[in-house]
């Protein structure tokens, strides 16, 4: 019988998925690929089939199980998300999709994001990936999920409620606004394969997660019973 995670287990499954997707968007080498293959198998046995985004996840798992050439995948990752003579085909950055629509452009998007990171107790260091990149944003969600799981373990109602509130707010203010156009662009430019499947799964997962958090809050403001 399928295991249906709930409570702290569900929060940990979501944390693991956010971490998986955050890592999957980084430049690829053999070690990372091996870790992704192992993590995908482990996650697939953790009750994902109980959720509606499971078919999108199965695509990722199938791509990782299938035959692949590391160099081809690494080159595709760079072409799609990192660089090219005309820039990355599908930049995985919030400001690329939302900055033009906002007064202040990328600077304002980044300032907003850094404020959200600080609110969650995370200081943004101006090195490496910017806060408007997909990986730090997914990592932040993973941190918030871990916080929720720990709160549930300790029975700290306020901590759980605050964490769910923070997760929902971050999804609604950021990821759920720019991931759909990013996913649409990726499905347009990426050939069928791992990265197309990963981005489609991220889109399906965050769309589901936003609704799940909303339902959890509505069913029980602390979310503890769900």
């Amino acid at each position: 019988m399928i295991w249906i995670p709930a409570g702290a287990e569900l929060a940990r499954l979501r944390q693991a998925l956010y971490r998986f997707f955050a890592g999957a968007m980084l430049p690829l080498d053999q070690r990372r690929l091996d870790e992704m293959v192992a993590a995908a198998e482990l996650l697939s046995r953790s009750g994902i089939d109980a959720f509606a985004f499971a078919p999108a996840w199965w695509e990722v798992r199938a791509e990782l199980r299938g035959p692949h050439v590391l160099d081809d995948l690494a080159a595709m990752q760079v072409r799609l998300f990192e660089a090219g003579t005309d820039g990355a085909l599908c930049p995985p950055t919030e400001s690329f999709y939302l900055a033009s629509a906002r007064q202040g452009g990328p600077a304002l998007v980044l300032a907003d994001l850094e404020r959200d990171f600080r609110r969650s107790g995370i200081e943004v260091v101006r090195q490496g990936l910017a806060a408007d990149q997909i990986t730090p944003q997914l990592e932040l969600m993973a941190v918030l999920c871990r916080d929720e799981a720990e709160g549930r373990d300790c029975g700290q109602l306020d901590r759980v409620a605050n964490s769910i509130d923070a997760q929902r707010g971050f999804l609604e203010r950021h990821l759920c606004r720019w991931i759909p156009p990013f996913a649409a662009r990726t499905s347009q430019f990426a050939p069928p394969g791992l990265y197309r499947a990963v981005v489609a799964a991220i889109a399906a997962f965050i769309d589901h997660d936003r609704e799940l958090l909303h339902v959890m809050q509505r069913a029980d403001p602390t979310g503890l019973s769900v």
Binding site: D49, A52, A54, L212, V215, S225
Partner: protein
């Protein structure tokens, strides 16, 4: 497409006989060990489950189905505790649900809306509440008429889950409480709920009315609300057909089963206190419309009711109907009733719930701007523009009374256009008729088209008396020529 029917063997119900290809398997203790369905259903694409919903939660069933590679939104669940155990009735119910399952065309992840059930199984009480999914609609952009101003779905949504902005409709699944009103209000069929499609309804209802299956005697179809699991069980002879909300049922849906062999049809709201989404009045208005239409066609209005009637009437002679629950079913259904009516021309029903409309244009106030025709999502209103004339035409059989034309008309207050919510057999037979035509004014200098004369007359009338020379120039010269020879 293979359909499996799995029944829990713990319940003493007899095993139904399924007509067609579906396989029936009785599984010992399926309610307590639903994980068994993975092995049993692995060769099937669609599934009908006979279980006790007090023992197993829908969320668990859905998770197991998904795990088995079966789309959970297409799984038909028959609650063995609430179904009539009479073998003939059981045959009929399971055959109908198998037909509905087979007609399910599949869903996408965005069709799944998470829900925490208010009613929990005994197992949930011991362990925890398990989420389940209900089917939510999606909008197909290629057929959506929002770009021409259509807001029919937005107007009927009781939860403001749909918003129109800049020629596009945005749907918020979190705010949506899927009732299906947007699905049946959409004039172009762009809003789709994959678990309640015309094909599924036709498959289920035509099976329920198949005289070769089930007990003899007249049958009634009662549309019930899927959220109202506590709704009173149907009376003998009545067979429930589940909808997300009975408020989504159209007059065509209530009338079509009568032409397919049902003696009666009922719409049964889910709560005694009325529809929690506020659709009670709509349901009554639609039933009243159907009753009036039946009367006009010389049939007993008692065939359609709110809630199952105590007595089932002898069915009408079944009529061959193509796509009876589809987008354009209403004119065909009216035609079918006309064919068995002693006086077809008497079929005229004016009602706020009329699914068809008649448009009238007042040539004295219409400016021939053609916005009405441009915004008509079903092309009931069309216009033809030549160098000399502009003509607006109308076909009653295509008008779904959505009111988009009247909403867009800039001269509505002056009575330029009027929508009569009327189902009129004679008008349906009239074909495409001309509603108005107006002369188009050409530039006296270059011969190019300026605008329809009524529009120029209206502009002139709106200009102040001292603007007479401008009005005069507007009537004579096109924009290009006006710029070359401005008013002195």
């Amino acid at each position: 497409m293979t359909t499996s029917v799995l029944l829990c063997g713990r319940t003493a119900s007899p095993t139904p006989t399924i007509v067609g290809d579906a396989e029936v398997t009785v599984v010992e203790d399926l309610c307590r060990r639903p994980g068994q369905l993975v092995q049993l259903a692995e060769s099937a694409d669609r599934l009908v489950l006979g279980v006790c919903l007090s023992e197993v939660s829908l969320g668990v069933v859905q998770a197991e189905a998904r795990h088995a590679g079966i789309d959970p939104l297409g799984v038909e669940v028959v609650d063995l505790e609430s179904v009539d155990p009479d073998p003939d009735r059981l045959d009929l119910v399971f055959n109908a649900r198998a037909a509905r399952a087979s007609a399910f065309a599949g869903s996408r992840p965005e069709h799944s809306k998470i829900s925490i059930p208010a009613k929990v199984s005994r197992r949930d009480l011991i362990h925890r509440r398990v989420h389940e999914y209900i089917a939510a609609p999606t909008i197909e952009p290629s057929t959506c008429a929002a770009s021409s101003g259509c807001r029919a779905c937005v107007d009927v949504c009781p939860r403001q889950a749909l918003t129109w902005s800049a020629g596009a409709v945005t749907y918020d699944r979190v705010a949506c409480e899927p009732c299906g009103r947007c699905v049946t209000a959409c004039p172009t069929g762009a809003v789709v709920n994959p678990a309640t499609t015309p094909g599924q309804l036709e498959a289920e209802i035509s099976t329920l009315l198949d005289p070769s299956i089930g007990p003899p005697g007249p049958r009634g179809i009662v549309f019930t609300c899927s959220r109202g699991r506590d709704a009173a069980p149907a009376a003998p002879g009545w067979y429930p057909v589940s909808l997300p909300c009975v408020g989504m049922a159209t007059p065509a849906w209530l009338l079509a089963p009568l032409l397919m062999g049902a003696g009666n049809v009922a719409a049964s709201p889910c709560h005694d206190t009325g529809c929690p989404l506020g659709h009670g009045e709509i349901i009554h208005a639609i039933v009243d419309f159907c009753r009036e239409l039946l009367s006009a066609a010389g049939e007993s209005p008692e065939r359609v009711s709110v809630g199952p009637a105590s007595e089932l009437l002898v069915p009408l002679l079944a009529v061959e109907l193509s796509d009876p629950f589809g987008l354009n079913a209403t004119p065909h259904i009216v035609e079918a009733f006309a064919s068995i009516s002693p006086s077809p021309s008497a079929i005229v029903v004016e009602s706020a719930a009329s699914p068809l409309g008649i448009i009238q244009i007042d040539e004295r106030t219409c400016t021939a701007c053609t916005l009405c025709a441009r915004s008509c999502p079903t092309e009931a209103l069309q216009f033809v523009e030549t160098a000399e004339m502009v003509t607006v035409t109308f076909e009653a059989s295509a008008c779904v009374a959505c009111g988009q034309c009247t909403d867009r008309c800039p001269e509505l207050e002056r009575g330029a256009i009027e929508l009569h919510r009327r189902t009129d057999w004679t008008a349906l037979h009239a074909g495409r008729v001309e509603l108005m035509s107006a002369e188009v004014v050409s530039c006296e200098s270059c011969g190019a088209t300026i605008a329809p004369k009524p529009a120029l007359d209206r502009i002139s009338a709106l200009l102040a008396p001292e603007d007479g020379p401008i009005a005069d120039l507007l009537q004579r010269r096109c924009m290009d020529c006006r710029s070359k020879a401005p008013v002195a």
